[in-house]
């Protein structure tokens, strides 16, 4: 009975993604005839997905896993198979729940944010949300890298659609374009990576004995064992050593990750993407698009674990991004901008965790972040509704009394974000830093990542509470803030749900506590320990140790935890000191040039825009001029020369018959001479 129920659960698993796809189709074609512009279909679909995901999670919790092909795009004998498949293991099951939950809540929230605000184009909006959910869910349960790429790209499309939702204005379409382009730039490397992985291993499966991480592992083992290359003999490594080549492959895929997860230097699209409706921001930044990158690394962690170089780079980039983005968040005025940079920063932590060998920690943070960041965005959305779509924090203030539900939910999210004990973010962030530290003691690159991550905590604490204080505390600074718009249930319910989760979800993996007490309460760790062989934590740890040469220094988790908590509190305290008054000053202006630098995001946008516009279009213009003048000029030149010479040639025909006779005779003489000389008549 249990077996059949398990089998049935896996049979219907594709419906997790297909339900939102159906809602997409319904909203697109029938949305304008439906009440709420298709929202109900979306809510029903994602609700269904959520239930199914929970069912799958329960099934997986029972120890079952699933790894099957479900739809074959192309089957080519003796060559690569392109197919869609289902890989249901603890990681994907967990992620399915997160995604479908956030998606469901965002749909719900949208009723209040979009419908109640009299927006146009609701069918388009809900269709976009549906497609987004579909793509992300399908991405999550993808069983091969090709399928991941397919849905990774679709996620990009959806982000373009949703960010550019308000297309009648100038900024959103531009932001949408930027988001798509920057991520596409990353996807270019990803695409090369997928193709190269296909070409190298002949497969892009994530799991199983024929999967590419397994093959790579065998190849490396073979290469280590025998002089002739052993297991690598089967694989074409394009003239590199297998280890080097796998690192290159890892970097290529990482390009896509950096783009989608908005890591330095491809993070510039994300703040601009705030031009989209706020629920969309919640969806993009909490659970879907941005998470996709980190999830992808986690998904193929078995492959990355083979390459210490790739891991170190991931960790360093992550740490750097965490600090870098946090510093920019400090000076922003727009509530969504602050959240945007905090998102970048938080994903930097996840990357740091992954790179530092803290697979569980990163997944943990991915989960907690999904909840508290969704919460923060939705909370910000609620504030924005209340503020009649004003987003500048300096126009707010004192909303605590008017919007108590929002305030407390938002506060819970903020505490989680800042990493204050015992909220969710504390546990997960702390674990990442701990992993980075223990592995980093043997690796300077990791240690650098750790230090940057640690420093970022201060900034995080500061900007988080600056945001909270400016928004909710003090006196209302504008008329709107004094008379905010009231909020409906559809806004409040998601906030409450997420607020609870942000508060308690961290408790599932209290590593310091577990270490200190010896209790087996690291539930997430346990959860990820089982599943498909080769995709488990144990396996990753083993590979990290044997292949990548990671070794953990033995260190109590308590001290680092206390350190990071202290830093977070210091940041928060600074914010409190500066902004707690009824009418806080613009303290950041005292930073002077640094503030300008930070407001301008270290001029990252400028150089990227310069590359894209000035340089790109410059080269394009040059090419065009070259094409018009040289290439096409040659073509036209040939015709002109022909016609000109034609005009010359016809002047031979002077009209005077004596000249004709002369030329005729001359021609004859020439003919006689040439043939005569050839035939030797004159000898």
């Amino acid at each position: 009975m249990a077996a059949t129920s398990t089998a049935f659960a896996f049979e219907v698993a594709p419906a997790i993604a297909i339900l939102p796809l159906a809602s997409f189709v319904i909203a697109l074609f029938a949305g304008k005839y439906l009440p709420k512009g298709g929202a109900l279909a979306g809510i029903a679909a994602t609700g269904g997905s959520l239930l199914l995901s929970l069912w799958i999670a329960l099934t997986v919790a029972g120890g079952a896993t699933y790894n099957e092909e479900i739809y074959s795009l192309v089957t080519t004998p003796n060559s690569f198979d392109l197919h869609f498949g289902l890989l249901l293991d603890p990681l994907s099951a967990l992620m399915l729940v997160i995604v479908s939950l956030v998606s469901f809540l965002v749909h719900l929230f949208s009723l209040g944010y979009m419908n109640d605000e009299g927006e146009r184009g609701l069918p388009r909006y809900y269709a976009g949300l549906g497609l987004f959910s579909f793509s992300m869910l399908a991405f999550v349960f993808a069983d091969n890298l090709f399928m991941s790429f397919v849905f990774f790209e679709l996620v990009g499309l959806c982000s373009w659609l949703l960010i550019g939702h308000w297309y009648r204005e100038e900024a959103p379409p531009s932001a949408a374009k930027k988001a798509f382009l920057v991520t596409r730039f990353g996807d270019y490397f990803f695409l090369v990576g997928v193709v190269a992985i296909f070409a190298t291993f002949g497969t892009t499966l994530f799991a199983g004995p024929e999967s590419f991480p397994t093959l790579a592992e065998e190849a490396l083992a073979g290469a280590g064992g025998g002089e002739a290359g052993g297991g690598a003999g089967e694989l074409s490594t394009f003239g590199f050593g297998p280890g080097t080549w796998f690192t290159v492959l890892g970097f290529l895929v990482l390009g896509g990750v950096i783009g989608k997860s908005a890591q330095f230097p491809l993070h510039t699209w994300l703040p601009d993407a705030m031009e989209g409706p706020t629920p969309v921001s919640a969806l993009i930044h909490a659970a879907t698009m941005v998470a996709a990158g980190v999830y992808l690394v986690a998904r193929m962690y078995g492959f990355y674990a083979l390459s210490p170089t790739a891991l170190a780079v991931i960790a360093f980039v992550g740490g750097f991004t965490a600090l870098f983005a946090a510093s920019m968040a400090v000076v922003k005025r727009d509530i969504k901008q602050v959240l945007a940079y905090s998102t970048i920063s938080q994903y930097g932590y996840m990357m740091l965790g992954l790179g530092a060998g803290g697979y569980v920690a990163a997944v943990f943070h991915l989960m907690t972040h999904a909840f508290f960041k969704a919460l923060l965005f939705l909370g910000a959305g609620a504030v924005i509704i209340a503020m009649h779509h004003r987003q500048d924090m300096w126009e707010m203030g004192g909303l605590k009394e008017k919007l108590p539900v929002t305030y407390y939910a938002f506060l819970a999210g903020s505490l989680a974000l800042a990493g204050i004990f015992p909220f969710a973010g504390f546990w997960s962030k702390d674990e990442i830093l701990y992993e980075a530290l223990i592995h980093g003691l043997n690796d300077p690159l990791l240690l650098g990542g750790y230090l940057m991550g640690l420093t970022a905590i201060v900034f995080t604490g500061f900007y988080t509470f600056r945001m909270v204080l400016l928004t909710f505390h003090g006196e209302p600074r504008t008329h709107t803030a004094r008379n905010p718009h009231s909020l409906g249930w559809s806004v409040k319910v998601p906030l409450v749900v997420l607020g609870v989760l942000a508060t308690v979800i961290g408790l599932i993996n209290m590593t310091p506590v577990a270490e200190a007490t010896g209790l087996h309460i690291e539930y997430l760790h346990t959860w990820l320990e089982h599943g498909i062989p080769g995709l488990t934590v144990e396996h990753y740890d083993e590979v990290l140790e044997t292949v990548a040469g990671y070794s953990a220094a033995s260190l109590s988790p308590l001290l680092p935890a206390v350190l990071s908590l202290a830093l977070a509190l210091a940041g928060a305290g600074l914010a409190w000191a500066l902004y707690s008054g009824p009418d806080p000053d613009h303290h950041t202006e005292r930073l002077g040039d640094i503030r300008t630098l930070l407001m301008n995001n270290y001029y990252q946008d400028e150089y990227q825009v310069w590359i894209a516009e000035t340089f790109g279009t410059g080269v394009a213009r040059l090419s065009d001029r070259f094409d018009q003048s040289i290439v096409d000029g040659a073509v036209n030149g040939i015709s002109e020369v022909s016609l000109l010479s034609g005009d010359r040639i016809r002047r031979i025909q002077t009209g005077i018959v004596s000249n004709y006779a002369t030329l005729l005779t001359l021609g004859l003489v020439v003919l006689l001479l040439s043939v005569g000389l050839a035939g030797g008549w004159f000898l």
Binding site: S645, G646, I652, Y660, L668, L671, G676
Partner: protein, 509 residues
């Protein structure tokens, strides 16, 4: 020695069958005489030229039918070999009949068109007589078996042509064209005659096969033979309007009445080629002569220069008729490839390709000039701009003209596509890549200027409203007929290609 010259042959009078074999020629000549009679009986021609044109057309048509019948009947082809009449002075074989078909077809078209063109003009009888005599001369050229008959029949074709070009006696253009044509023609025929005398000097013979026999053992008189051969080639170059004997052509074609231009540029050119084919293939057969007198080199040069000059000069013309005249020179260059490539193993193919091209050219070029005749009849003017927007006024004729132009350019809307590519195949197959490349360049250019006509007809708005008065039946019939044949020769090329290639191959047996 005595017997070697075929005195024995002198005794045998041609059997009846041989008269039958000459039926097309005889029909043409008799029609000419009949026209004289008609003219003397009814000098004022109450029918406005109808009787004359009708008689002439019927005569050429009968000759055409006779030629086709003989061709189908296999006279002079196949096992028995060519029919040699008058002691080998005249030869009836596949090639002769094939070209007779070309001449008579063109003549028929032109005569039908002339009925309208010449309406209410004087000297109609002379016009038709001259045209028929010229056709007779051409048919005889195709059948000539000796340099003597070649020369005389060439003159028979030429002399009436001079007069026909100058037919519009009070039109300066026509007269000027006539005098130029005549003067260059006279000069060329003098050179030709001198060439014949030198060939005679080198071989002691005038019969083509006799010359071949004489040369087969090699000759000491290489230089004399060489000069003779080249001068003979010059005579043919005049007739075919090949550089440097082409100077008359643009003027004559432009100045002459358009039907005469059609006649000259199609039939007369073909006549020049057929006799060149026969003389060079039979008398100066490449195997025997080319080693010392490399006339293929000469024709190679002629082909290259002719097609290039013709096409380049045509590209920038303002007047349609003159453009066609130069393009006619260009086409002569294409056909010359057939002669230039004769020294390699594919003789039947390359010569056959040239013959096919001449046949198709006979229709498409005649048709094009007859369209110009139509335009002259309508008095719309003669430049490209004057033709603007004709497509809306006279769509049928313009479709026909489009077919001609594209077919001339070698696009697959007519037989010209097939024939041009056959020539190209021949050039490539015999390794004449340079000629093939030149053909390519020239084709591109020709496409440009031919499509200028199409552009005027269809794409441009008429500058001023042209009043087209009437749709002359004869001209239309001729133009449309030529277009239909041109078009049908695309899928139906197999009707003639086998005959042409086997007729050409027969020369080399």
């Amino acid at each position: 020695m005595t017997g070697g010259l075929g005195v024995g042959v002198l005794q045998t009078a041609p059997p009846i069958g041989d008269w039958v074999a000459l039926a097309p020629v005889l029909l043409l000549a008799l029609t000419a005489l009949a026209l004289f009679v008609i003219d003397s009986v009814d000098p004022d021609d109450a029918s406005g030229g109808g009787a004359l044109a009708g008689t002439a057309a019927v005569g050429t048509l009968l000759a055409l039918v006779a030629a086709i019948a003989l061709l189908i009947a296999g006279i002079g082809q196949g096992q028995g070999g060519a029919l040699r009449l008058y002691g080998g002075q005249l030869i009836v074989d596949g090639m002769a009949l094939f070209f007779t078909v070309i001449f008579t077809s063109v003549a028929t078209l032109v005569i039908v068109a002339s009925y309208d063109y010449l309406r209410d003009r004087v000297y109609q009888a002379e016009y038709y007589v001259l045209m028929l005599l010229a056709t007779t001369g051409m048919a005889l050229m195709a059948s000539s078996g000796s340099l003597a008959t070649v020369f005389i029949s060439l003159e028979l074709a030429s002399l009436p042509s001079y007069a026909l070009v100058a037919f519009l006696k009070d039109n300066r253009g026509s007269v000027e064209a006539g005098i130029k044509y005549f003067l260059i023609g006279a000069l060329s025929s003098a050179i030709f005659a001198y060439g014949i005398s030198l060939v005679y000097g080198a071989t002691g013979r005038l019969g083509l096969e006799a010359i071949a026999r004489s040369l087969s053992g090699g000759t000491q008189l290489v230089g004399i033979l060489g000069v003779g051969v080249l001068m003979v080639a010059g005579g043919f170059a005049f007739k075919t309007a090949s550089v440097p004997f082409h100077f008359w052509a643009p003027e004559a074609y432009e100045g002459a009445p358009a039907p005469v231009s059609a006649f000259l540029s199609s039939a007369s050119k073909a006549a020049g080629f057929v006799v060149a084919f026969r003389v060079f293939a039979v008398a100066f057969s490449p195997e025997a002569v080319v080693a010392s007198v490399d006339w293929t080199l000469a024709f190679w040069l002629l082909a290259a220069v002719t097609m290039t000059l013709g096409n380049f000069a045509a590209a920038t013309q303002d007047k349609v008729k003159r453009m066609l005249a130069y393009s006619s020179v260009g086409h002569a260059g294409y056909v010359l490839i057939g002669l230039a490539a004769l020294n390699s193993g594919q003789n039947g193919l390359v010569l056959g390709a040239s013959m096919i091209h001449l046949l198709v050219y006979g229709f498409m070029n005649t048709g094009a000039f007859l369209f110009v005749a139509l335009a002259e009849y309508w008095e719309v003017g003669r430049t490209f701009e004057d033709y603007n927007g004709l497509g809306t006024q006279a769509p049928i004729a313009c479709v026909a003209m489009t077919v001609f132009m594209f077919s001339l350019a070698g696009l697959p809307v007519g037989g010209g596509f097939m024939s041009k590519y056959f020539i190209l195949v021949g050039a490539v197959g015999t390794g004449h890549f340079l000629l093939a490349a030149l053909l390519l360049i020239n084709s591109a250019l020709s496409l440009y200027y031919y499509s200028r006509v199409v552009r005027s007809l269809w794409f441009e708005e008429p500058a001023n409203s042209i009043g087209i008065e009437g749709y002359p039946l004869g001209l239309y019939a001729a133009v449309v007929g030529a277009a239909v044949v041109t078009f049908l020769l695309l899928p139906g090329i197999f009707l003639v290609s086998d005959a042409a290639i086997s007729a050409a191959s027969a020369l080399f047996v």
